[in-house]
């Protein structure tokens, strides 16, 4: 499989692909720099616009946005103490005090270099770990594939979010939405209520745009934001001159990259957890921990390296098993489906040029961050913070319309998106996690098809679902994911009551 990785390189280096990564990184930084907008939202709005594009070009855009947005979040975190993305919260601890003492330019340079290093480490981890994992999963039959889908859903439900009940409701809703349309085996209409538009099921993009773009748009219009400080020019020197002052962060870069990669692979964890863990570990290892929180550049390095190291590694379980580690990875899976690419082991066998090309795009996206996120660009992106939020909200609403209408040229899809948007907003406000809905839609049909196939092969015997060792191992892993957090909670509760 590693030969496929090398063969995919020339196609990634074509002008179209490279240009797509550049545009993606720039738009990602811009999106990340605006508080309230996230990489998840940007990719969901972008997916419909990539329909007419070559799949690799479309994936290059998404990889660029993901990389760029994770760094872009550091800009308002440093300048305004308002993290552009949730993963940039830890960056503000030392970044903002640095900006207050006139070292905001250096803080952002540390952020961009650390983000690039984290991103490169993450892309290399994806290249090294995904192919052997995919090779193993290629041996799976329908029963194992069904259990993988169940395991993926349970991981997201029980490890992500505070309430497993809310996670379960989200997942059941997603699975139910995946059932709309003609039955995959008998072609019987399910929940179409005579609407021809629903016969092919509900397009993933409609759900993604509604769930992920509507809540931030409403938030943009709901809350005013004070961005007076964003207008101040940053004092910066050339990156070449300031880079030697960062050399001694190498241990932090290495430690934080490993933490970020590990957290990325774990389903349910995310960039913010990686950044916090890495910040704490770096502070613990520091010789002057008392300076942390008062403008220690190593704090910015720790947080930014880890939240970027989580990007590509979150795609390791997503691409090989179809289980996304984060919300952005779930949306990226949606992007793959839009281009007819089913995430999972078959992707490596049927479309090696695309899947390995995607990995290269992550690597190049991370490298490009250093060139595109330098002093001049960062200064320009900082000015984006002055863009009035109501104007931004109105523009995103128009883009949401264009994206969804362009899929089939039907107003029906737009009204459907509005419905999902309303549901998404309510879910967001009442803290129902959104990734299980997307994963339910992605894995629902997949799980149902493989469950029914297993039952058909096993002549209706439910025991055929537990007929081999791999299935039993997957069942055990699923039980561990469900029961583990419950036991942990009980132990913590018991310890608390003892003390």
């Amino acid at each position: 499989m590693y030969m496929d990785l090398i063969s995919a390189l020339p196609s990634v280096l074509s002008f179209d692909n490279f240009f797509a990564i550049v545009i993606g990184v720039l738009s990602g930084i811009a999106v990340g720099a605006m508080p309230g907008l996230s990489a998840t939202m940007a990719i969901s709005v972008l997916v419909p616009f990539t329909f007419g594009l070559d799949p690799l070009v479309a994936l290059g855009l998404m990889a660029g946005i993901y990389n760029g947005a994770m760094y872009g979040g550091a800009i308002p975190a440093v300048l305004l103490r308002i993290p552009g993305t949730p993963a940039a919260v830890a960056t503000s601890f030392d970044g903002y005090p640095m900006a207050q003492s006139g070292r905001g330019g250096f803080a952002l340079q540390v952020a961009v270099v650390s983000s690039a290093i984290g991103g490169i480490a993450s892309a290399l981890a994806l290249m090294l770990l995904a192919p052997p994992l995919a090779k193993v999963t290629l041996l799976f039959g329908p029963a194992e594939v069904f259990w993988i889908a169940v395991f993926g859903l349970c991981s997201i439900i029980f490890l992500l979010g505070e309430s497993p009940i809310k996670g379960l409701i989200s997942a059941c809703f997603g699975i139910f939405v995946s059932m709309v349309g003609a039955d995959p085996i008998t072609s019987e209409d399910r929940f179409t209520f005579g609407q021809l538009e629903l016969l092919d099921g509900i397009n993933m993009v409609i759900l993604l745009v509604g769930l992920y773009a509507m809540p931030p748009v409403i938030d943009l219009l709901e809350q005013p934001l004070d961005t007076k400080e964003a207008g101040k020019a940053l004092k910066t020197e050339s990156l070449l001159r300031s880079f030697p002052r960062m050399f001694h962060f190498w241990k932090t870069w290495l430690r934080s990259s490993l933490i970020g990669i590990w957290i990325g692979i774990l389903p349910g964890a995310g960039g913010s957890m990686a950044a916090f863990m890495s910040y704490n570990e770096a502070r613990r290892a520091s010789s002057n921990p008392d300076e942390w929180g008062k403008g220690e550049p190593e704090g910015v390095a720790a947080s930014e390296t880890a939240n970027n190291a989580d990007t590509a590694s979150a795609l390791i379980p997503a691409l090989t098993l179809g289980i996304p580690g984060t919300a952005v990875a779930a949306v990226m899976l949606g992007g793959l489906l839009v281009h007819g690419l089913q995430p999972g082991p078959m992707l490596f066998r049927d479309n090696p040029d695309i899947v390995f090309g995607f990995m290269w795009q992550f690597l190049f996206g991370a490298i490009l961050l250093i060139f595109l996120g330098g002093s001049l660009a960062t200064n320009s992106f900082a000015h984006l913070l002055k863009l009035p939020r109501p104007v931004l909200g109105a523009i995103i609403i128009v883009l949401m319309f264009i994206g969804v209408y362009s899929i089939n040229g039907r107003m029906f899809d737009v009204y459907l998106m509005l419905g999902f948007g309303l549901i998404g907003y309510v879910m967001d406000k009442f803290k129902f996690p959104l990734p299980p809905v997307v994963l339910g839609l992605i894995l629902g049909g997949f799980a149902e098809e493989n469950l029914r196939l297993t039952l058909l092969i096993g002549q209706g015997q439910w025991s055929s679902l537990f007929a081999n060792t791999t299935s039993l191992v997957l069942v055990a892993m699923t039980i561990a994911v469900v029961v583990g957090p419950m036991i942990k909670r009980r132990v913590v509760k018991a310890r608390k009551s003892e003390s």
């Binding site: 019987e188 409403i218 609403i397 737009v414």
Partner: protein, 140 residues
Amino acid sequence: MIVIAFCIFIASAAFLIPALKLNGNASLLPVAMLVALMGLSVILVVIDVKKALNNNEPHKPALQSPSRVVGALLSVFLFVTCVDFFGFYLTTAIFVPVTAYLFGCRSLKVLLASDVIVVAGIYLIFSVAMSKDFPMGSIW
């Protein structure tokens, strides 16, 4: 939360009727999901009531500014409906500055500039370069 749980229960029960009419295995997962949703919504109510009984802290409102949220939601729905009736470009040209103004942007320069950039940008990128067609409006 009780209202939300009630809505989930009612919606699931309503979808359960057509789900039960499906043949054989086609109804397997839909029925399972809908029954699960109904059960989970009941559990959600129980947990919420228990929490409310044990918690003496004042209830925090879910929305900071309900009127602005309702306004924002209405503006999105109004935009889509108007596109259907009056056409995409006309509606967009009016919608962008009016929404921005209503939600707090008072600079005429910014409103005009953003309107021209958005409408011209969409026309050049989507209609000219990508040959996309947008609704012309059903009343014309």
